[in-house]
Structures are given as structure tokens and as C-alpha cells.
Amino acid sequence: MSQPEVRQELAQLVVMRVNAERGGEELAKRFDVSSYPTLVFANADGEEVERIRGYLPPDAFLAEVRRVRAGDTFAACLARLEEQPGDLETLTRAVDGLLQRSDPEGALTRLEAFRLAAPETSTAACSVLLFRARAALQDRLYEHAAQLYDTGWKHAMEVPDCGVGVQLRAALEQGLTELDAAEQRRMLREARRQDGGALLSEVDPGSLHGEDILTAARFAAASGIYERATELFERWVDSEGAEAPPEALNEVAWELYLMRQALDRGVKIARAALAADDSPDIADTLARLLYVTGAVDEAIAVETRAAEQAEGKAADAFRDVAERMKTGLPLDDQPEFESYPE
């Protein structure tokens, strides 16, 4: 925002900055903002017309502001879809936006309207959109179930009958909440794995491209289906090649480490990420992968260097890991699914 061209464009708007935890709580609540930074564009009536999450490079940010000022907003996209529910391009943009705003129900409503308006159009793109919306809704249902499990099921849980969370619904109907905690955990994990597998089997793997492959891989990992997750993560790396951002490669390598899958491939991926971005976070990923594949000396050297490069709590954590490696202790990091629903 310090660039003259960006400032010139922003000068056409009323621009304000709010600390969502110090004085801006009410406004953040009003616009349901929960990740930071987030930019909300509102019309003069105070209605949101667009939002951008995170920082963008100046050129991309400038293009976004110009688009919003020209009226080509998310709100306008939803209005257009209301008039033309069978327009695939508008649907795609609307579903993207709704999923970014954590509204999978809204996305599914538009997808159903699309199906009714354009029954002859059964494209691969539409099936991927449907998968993404269903996967997001299912993840949310299982997170909600975990919260209720944690509170001893103080509130009843209802699972909508829309082909999502089918096993969760069945478990609840079979009296899940009356069972002892260990049995509840077992049933919830099994239901999540089965429901995850069901959704993944509905999407044609060949129709997944780019970021959608990563989305499916993350969903598979969150559902405890590690072999499928591994296959998808590896496919994404193969498809992106040298173009893959190091942060994303680091994420993939980290997930493989957590799942203890394709570890040799994980080492290669982490090395590629570190070659592109010599950051302590990536070095830590590589070091852990080296350690669990038996390359202990190199692991200690890489982790020690990561600790020297890092600052604050991360530096302390990396030093601890290096010490564990030196004394031959195992690394017990696990995928989140292993502790679900705790």
C-alpha cells in the first residue's frame, strides 16, 4: 500500500484500519472476520460487497481494487447467479468465494440450483466444485461433532440429509452419545474415515487439477485416509514441478512426515523447498524427515542450523528437537486425525 499507484487507487475509497482485538471487535464480528489480515469492501450502506484475505503482491492487489471499484464484486457475482443460476463461469466464481468465506452450505445451494437450471450440463468442473463444497461441509460437521464430544454432548447434533456425513448421522442415530468416551472416539474416527472415503470416491481423480488436488489431499489426510492423501500430495508435486511454491512443497513434505508415508520422496520434496527458500521452518521439516529415514547426522546438522536461524519460540522448539535427535529419542509428531476428536 506504499506504492504510488496503489495509493492513488485507494485514495478513491474511504480506507480505514482496524485492530480486531483492540477496539475493533464489534466491527470484526459484524463482518464475521476471523482470519487476519482481511480487507472488507463495503458500499455506502455498510453492506459487504467484497473481501480479500491476506496480503497480495502490489500488482495483484491493484488489480483487485480496480475490479471492485468497477463493480465486478463477489456480491454482484451472487446477484448475477441469482438471475442466471445455470451459468457455469459465474457459478465457479461464486462457489470459490463462498468456500473462501467458509459457507459450504451456500455453495451447495447454488450448485443444486445450477443442477436444476442446467441439467444437461454435467461437466467435470461441476463435479469438482461439488466435491469441494461437500468436503468443506463434512470437515465442518466433524469439527462440530468434536466440540460437542468435548462438552459431553450438551447440545444435540443434527446432520443434514444431503449425502454428507452419512456415517456420522448413522452413528448418532445408533446412540453414539450414550457410549463411553473410548467407544465414542473409535466410532467418530471410523465414521470420519468412511465418510471421507465416500466423498473421495465420488470425484474423478482425472478431473482434479492444481490447487484442487491439494484440497483433496488435505481432506484425505484430515479424514485419516493416508495412502490416498499421499498419492494426491505426490501427484500435486508431479504436476507442479519446478513451479511449485516452496511453502506449499514444505506443507506436502510436512504432511508426509506426519503420516509417515513416502518418506524418501518427502526428503526430496523438502530439499527442493529448502533450495528455493532457505528458511528455518523448511529446514526443520527436512531435518525431521532425515531423522525418521535414518540420516541422523545430517538431521542433527540441519536442525541445529534451523535453531540458529530461527527466533523466539521456534528457535527453542528446534533446539529441543535437535537434542532429541542427539539422544536418539523418537519424534512423536502425528497427523491431527490420530488425536481426533480430542
Binding site: M1, S2, Q3, R7, L10, A11, Q12, L13, V14, V15, M16, R17, V18, N19, A20, E21, R22, G24, L27, A28, F31, V33, Y36, P37, T38, L39, V40, F41, A42, N43, A44, D45, G46, V49, R53, G54, Y55, L56, P57, P58, F61, V65, V68, R69, P245, E247, A248, N250, E251, W254, P280, D281, D284, T285, A314, A317, F318
Partner: protein
């Protein structure tokens, strides 16, 4: 270690300077809306935290 920052977002926080300059509206959201109404434009609110 998994990074906290989203994959696709570029950390341009270093460029976020000049918050005391005239670009930024210093009043309430309601007063920003008033200005937007009179100028026939819209309001952009940047939400952030200390983190």
C-alpha cells in the same frame, strides 16, 4: 514445521507503512460510511491484529 502463513498469500507486511498519513480514515466506521455516501464511493476496512 508447518508454516502459519497461508500458501498463496505474499507477506507484504513490510510494505504496510504510512498508517499515520492522510490515506487512512481515523474515525469510526459510521463516519467512514458518511464520507463514502458524500463521495459516492465505498469503504475499505483492513482488519488486522497485533500478531
Amino acid at each position: 514445521m508447518r508454516r502459519a502463513t497461508p500458501v498463496l498469500l505474499m507477506a507484504a507486511a513490510a510494505a504496510m507503512v504510512g498508517c499515520a498519513d492522510r490515506l487512512w480514515h481515523r474515525g469510526s466506521f459510521e463516519s467512514a460510511l458518511e464520507l463514502a455516501r458524500s463521495g459516492e464511493t465505498m469503504v475499505m476496512v483492513e482488519f488486522q491484529t497485533d500478531w
